[in-house]
């Protein structure tokens, strides 16, 4: 498996490592336990969930791994400005004029008012959709709960500093990165803040309430997770993706590493 043109991939879709071949496009899924390899044609920046790959397009396509054959989904209704997100049940697509949320296998769409920032993917879990927007060039974290009339502002640089960005979501947890901490937020369980320097991160990986990110140690990039797991070898370890005890990352020789980890 090769690293991709969009260096936020490869990443884990449950027990499947989804990444690229030599073309730089997402075309390969490998089961981390069995080594089973499936060829897909998911293009540049698909959304991933447990055993599921969603590629936006006209029409969009969904692979339910290990099936190598995709099924069609509703076409995206506008200009895509970043990777979509899915929790396996619904998909959220960031468009130039807002976000669209739709259930997989269903043609019904719901427009979510907002101005998502380009490049940053949104995140979705259950009733919650979360995304990054920009106000006068500065980041805002916004979240929308199904049924609500308006989005809720969770964090912003203008109010709190720290350039909050890179949202993620899993099993009811929402998370994002700030300049000096990672924030995990649950609508009922409250908030957890983990001090760190994650400024090199291209994204935040979440599996349930466990988050993993790139951690800058002053000289190079390591990987840190909120459950205490760390990868701190010589050189860079980048682009973490976590699912259960499996952690995928890329070392500084552009090798894709998939390791089994256990929280200390």
């Amino acid at each position: 498996m090769e690293i991709c043109d969009d260096q936020r991939y490869p990443a884990l879709a449950g027990p499947w490592a989804v990444g690229c071949d030599a073309t730089g496009a997402v075309r390969v899924a490998i089961h981390v336990e069995t080594g089973e390899r499936v060829t897909i044609a998911a293009g540049g920046a698909p959304a991933l969930a447990d055993g599921l790959v969603y590629a936006p397009g006209i029409p969009s396509r969904v692979w339910r791994l290990p099936a190598g054959k995709s099924t069609p989904e509703a076409a995206i209704p506008g200009e895509l400005i970043g990777p979509p997100a899915t929790d396996g049940e619904v998909v959220v697509v960031p468009l130039a004029d807002g976000l669209v949320r739709q259930a997989l296998g269903d043609n019904r769409r719901q427009a979510i008012p907002g101005e998502p920032a380009p490049w940053y993917p949104p995140a979705v879990t259950g009733e919650w959709t979360v995304w990054v927007s920009l106000e006068r060039g500065e980041e805002v974290i916004e979240a929308h709960e199904q049924g609500a009339m308006t989005a809720r502002r969770l964090d912003s640089h203008a109010e709190n500093g720290g350039h909050p960005r890179h949202v993620a979501a899993s099993e009811g947890w929402l998370g994002w990165i700030r300049d000096d901490e990672v924030v995990l937020w649950h609508p009922e369980d409250g908030e957890r803040r983990i001090p760190t320097d994650a400024h090199t991160s291209r994204g935040l990986s979440m599996w349930g309430g466990v988050a993993c990110w790139e951690s800058w140690n002053g000289e190079d990039v390591d990987i840190a997770c909120s459950d205490g797991v760390q990868i701190a070898r010589s050189g860079h370890q980048r682009a973490p993706s976590r699912w259960g005890d499996w952690l995928l990352y890329v070392d500084d020789r552009d090798r894709v590493m998939i390791v089994e980890v256990a929280a200390p």
């Binding site: 043109d5 380009p118 490049w119 006068r136 060039g137 350039h163 960005r165 300049d179 400024h199 990039v221």
Partner: protein, 617 residues
């Protein structure tokens, strides 16, 4: 009467049909109209100024009419030079340019007697047919690399940021900016299309001047042949709809040659100096013209030497303000071609990168190879010329040997000077007019069937020369005519466009951008420094000279964001003349250092492929 009513009815029907078919979308029409008005106004003002200058002199001496093309070229160069003091002082408000244009146009108040270009109808039709695609190019959004980092970028930055670009952080701005200041005036009135349409007019002026000089100095048909050779060469014609300073220099060189052949030595010096100030690579043909003048004065050595010195000083007076400007800013007068003080020996350009070798045999074979082995998309000369030029070569050499081809002599000197430098055909462009005239002088030596064969070769060679250009114009034409969104074309043709678009739409209004290993300065709507020029010199210099403090230096200059391309070099381009160790030190290491520094001190806020935007911490 009934015929007039019929004609009026027909015209009304035609107008209604045109309006109903939406021939040109309103925004494209407006853009073309504004650009045309801007180009026409600047051309009129420049011609007025030039006519005033030339006419005053003529009135005192010969009383001949003023050649309109010569007036346009000289007035344009004079106006571009005159704009240096106010813009260097920060007077860059559009009103300054309007006042300058009105002042230049006051040359018409001298009521000069003009000689307007004239040619048979067939010549006009042929010339316009060959140049017409350039109009589409001129109306298209800029995607040409030289336009977006240099020729349009500098005028746009001047108007946007209110200061004359220049110095180590914007080295392109420290070159003479005669055409760029004139283009800024065209941009004030005509918007983006203004300067491009002005250059299209200049290209047409070059073809007319070449034809006219050829007809008067060689023979009537030779003028036509010279113009055909010029417009039938890819390297020339591809520049016709682009903002550039090569073809303006070529026009001034042709006028200097004409003045030399006509014995008007001070006008020779004036046009030669203006050509040099327009583009330094006009030095080759200028030296050839001066040598020709010297040769024609043989036999009167006593007076020739002081006069030569005076003529040289007169020519250099055009360039001196630019050298003075650099000196006042603490730079080498010839910066950026010399004077990279923090890294002595730092090369601005690698001549070995272009052409097919620089050994004695390679140089002897150059006239052959430059026609036979050149290609628009290859570093082997990076361009193409009409094969008919090669057909005319024996005749030109024959005429030279017989001592009856002064124009071919200037062409030969121009070619030798070019051969001594960088073998990229675009650098020969300032000599394009004299090269075409030199070839036409060779054509004149041929027997009738040889002349016909040369024209046949020109015709057969036309698709290979116009084909690549037409293909690129066809790609841009829908956007030029308003049938494709501007952004769609830019996304397709400007590699870093998505990052530029991100900055324009999302970076804070007060953001200041450093472009590292990236070109599209023109399209950025924020203050910008660095940006690329030949082999990404500014970025490499910053990273090599400042080392790990490079980004600190940027922050000290108020830079908030870096837009960078992470893979600017391919070793294969350099391996023939730069050893691996040197390549690593001069090219690979700065890129690696940039990546390390951005990782440590920047926060990635946008990325597409290998181009990203980092916010500096």
């Amino acid at each position: 009467m009934s015929r007039h009513i019929l004609a009026a009815l027909s015209a009304a029907l035609g107008l209604a049909a045109l309006l109903s078919q939406d021939v040109l979308p309103a925004d494209a029409l407006l853009r073309a109209a504004r650009g045309g008005a801007g180009a026409a106004l600047v051309a009129l003002a420049a011609t007025g100024l030039g006519a005033g200058l030339l006419g005053l002199r003529r009135a005192a001496s010969e009383g001949e009419p003023v050649d309109a093309v010569a007036a346009f070229a000289l007035g344009g160069a004079a106006l571009g030079t005159a704009l240096l003091p106010p813009t260097a002082l920060g007077l860059t408000h559009p009103a300054v340019f309007i006042v300058a244009l009105l002042a230049a146009a006051s040359g018409w108040l001298t009521r000069p007697r003009m000689r307007w270009p004239s040619a048979p109808a067939a010549a006009w039709v042929a010339g316009l047919a060959l140049l017409a695609p350039g109009l589409l190019d001129a109306l298209a959004p800029p995607v040409d690399t030289d336009e977006i980092y240099y020729h349009l970028a500098l005028p746009a930055m001047l108007l946007r940021e209110g200061a004359l670009p220049g110095g180590v952080w914007l080295p392109d701005g420290s070159r003479p900016l005669v055409t760029h200041l004139l283009d800024a005036a065209a941009m004030v009135v005509g918007g983006e299309a203004g300067p491009k349409l002005l250059h299209w007019l200049g290209a047409a002026g070059l073809a007319l001047a070449v034809r006219d000089v050829g007809a008067r100095r060689l023979e009537a048909r030779a003028g036509d042949v010279a113009a055909l050779l010029l417009l039938g060469s890819y390297t020339v014609i591809q520049a016709s709809g682009l903002a550039n300073n090569d073809l303006p220099a070529a026009l001034l060189v042709v006028l200097a040659l004409d003045a030399c052949l006509g014995g008007r030595r001070w006008w020779m010096a004036a046009f030669a100096g203006a050509a040099l100030a327009t583009k330094y690579t006009a030095a080759g043909p200028v030296v050839g013209i001066y040598l020709l003048w010297w040769w024609r004065r043989r036999g009167e050595p006593a007076g020739a030497l002081p006069e030569l010195a005076a003529l040289t000083a007169a020519a250099l007076a055009w360039v001196a303000p630019w050298w003075l400007r650099n000196g006042m800013e603490g730079l080498h007068p010839l910066f950026p071609f010399a004077g990279w003080t923090e890294m002595p020996g730092f090369a601005f350009m690698y001549p070995e990168k272009y052409g097919m070798g620089r050994g004695p045999v390679d140089l002897l074979l150059l006239p052959w190879r430059v026609v036979v082995d050149s290609a628009p998309d290859s570093y082997a000369f990076l361009g193409r010329v009409s094969p008919a030029a090669l057909v005319c070569l024996p005749g030109a050499l024959w005429g030279l040997a017989r001592g009856r081809a002064p124009i071919a002599f200037v062409a030969l000197v121009s070619f030798v000077a070019w051969a001594a430098g960088v073998h990229a055909l675009r650098l020969l462009l300032p000599a394009a007019g004299v090269m075409a005239l030199g070839a036409a002088a060779g054509w004149r030596e041929l027997a009738g069937w040889g002349r016909a064969a040369a024209l046949l070769v020109w015709l057969i060679g036309l698709p290979a020369n116009h084909g690549p250009w037409l293909a690129s114009v066809a790609d841009r034409a829908p956007a030029a005519l308003g049938w494709e969104d501007r952004e769609a074309l830019l996304a397709r043709r400007v590699r870093d466009w998505h990052a530029v678009e991100w900055v324009n739409e999302n970076a804070p209004e007060d953001a200041r951008i450093a472009l590292l290993f990236s070109w599209p300065r023109y399209h950025l709507e924020r203050p910008v420094i660095l940006g690329s020029v030949e082999d990404h010199v500014p970025s490499r210099y910053l990273l090599l000279s400042r080392g790990d403090d490079a980004l600190t230096g940027l922050r000290e200059r108020g830079v908030t964001h870096v837009l960078a391309w992470r893979r600017p070099f391919i070793y294969g381009t350099y391996e023939d003349f730069v050893g691996r160790k040197d390549y690593d030190a001069r090219f690979a290491e700065p890129v690696e250092r940039m990546q390390s520094l951005l990782l440590a001190e920047g926060t990635l806020v946008f990325e597409k492929g290998r181009v990203g935007v980092w916010r500096l911490q």
